[in-house]
Amino acid sequence: MNCTDFLSQLTDYFDGHIPADLLVEVRAHLAECHHCEVVVNTTRQTIEVYRGNEIYEISDDLRERLHSAIMTKCLEKKRA
């Protein structure tokens, strides 16, 4: 397995969806290729840093305003 083959399996590797025989090859490649090991570690960190930091959190005020607007429009629709 070379680095390109390894990368093509990366999504399934993270999801734990790699068949057992292929997983042996994937692990063997990882054990001998430092670059791919770094890519795995830092890609995992990429996902974690986005999951762990809510960059677009909605404030309570905005949420209430939006909620009222949505329900007002829906009720208008119902009455129409």
Partner: protein, 208 residues
């Protein structure tokens, strides 16, 4: 002996009952669905459009459309996936109107390979959260995800931020599962490459 769930006894999602009541005209049931998903729909819209005013409009339009089309909801998918699908379509339409990006369809981004081939092989410092304060970190994360093509950004948002499964993401975007996986891989690799500039470990003697 551990309990084994037998096939056919899958739990029915609580949304199913709420949707049924809403269809019969129970506004309180629909309001509960709005409460459950308004944050998520707002986040999805803001991630795709990168614009707060647009995200506000899209959140309202998504729920209004869902309310109008409740009869069309088949129940084959989760209600939340159906909502996300409406929100994604509204968001992409908004981007097309704004023309802030050259590529705003889910199909046109495939050719964008820049950054998908790893070039930076430095390990990162263990806790990026501890290097930057929360505002700096948020700015970095926003700036970085803004640089992704909209199609990649959308797949990353649904799959990695909103935690939808690959199947749900495919359903919400009208893409095949291999197409979702391919876009997700490129999105993750492009983000990784860009974030490496900020988070990579410095060699001794290098400025921080």
């Amino acid at each position: 002996m551990p309990a084994i769930q037998s096939p056919g006894t899958e739990e029915i999602h609580p949304d199913v009952a709420l949707v049924a009541r809403a269809r019969e005209g129970d506004t309180a049931a629909f309001e509960q669905l709005v409460r459950q998903y308004e944050r998520q729909i707002f986040r999805v819209a803001q991630h795709i459009t990168q614009n707060r005013e647009d995200a506000e409009d899209i959140t309202q339009d998504t729920f209004l459309k869902a309310y109008e089309k409740l009869e069309q909801f088949q129940g084959n998918s989760k209600f939340s996936t159906w909502l996300v699908r409406i929100a994604v379509n509204e968001s992409l339409m908004r981007l097309r109107k704004r023309k802030t990006s050259k590529t705003v369809s889910m199909d046109e981004d495939v050719q964008t390979d820049e950054g998908s081939i790893p070039r930076d092989f430095a390990e990162w410092r263990p806790n990026p959260e501890q290097i930057f304060d929360q505002n700096e970190l948020n700015d970095i994360l926003k700036r970085t995800i803004q640089g992704l093509p909209p199609g990649f950004r959308t797949v990353f948002t649904l799959r990695d931020i909103e935690n939808l499964s690959t199947e749900e993401t495919a359903e919400a975007l009208g893409l095949s599962i291999p197409a979702v996986k391919s876009r997700l891989l490129r999105a993750r690799l492009q983000l990784r490459e860009r974030l490496s500039r900020y988070f990579r470990q410095r060699k001794e003697g290098q400025p921080a």
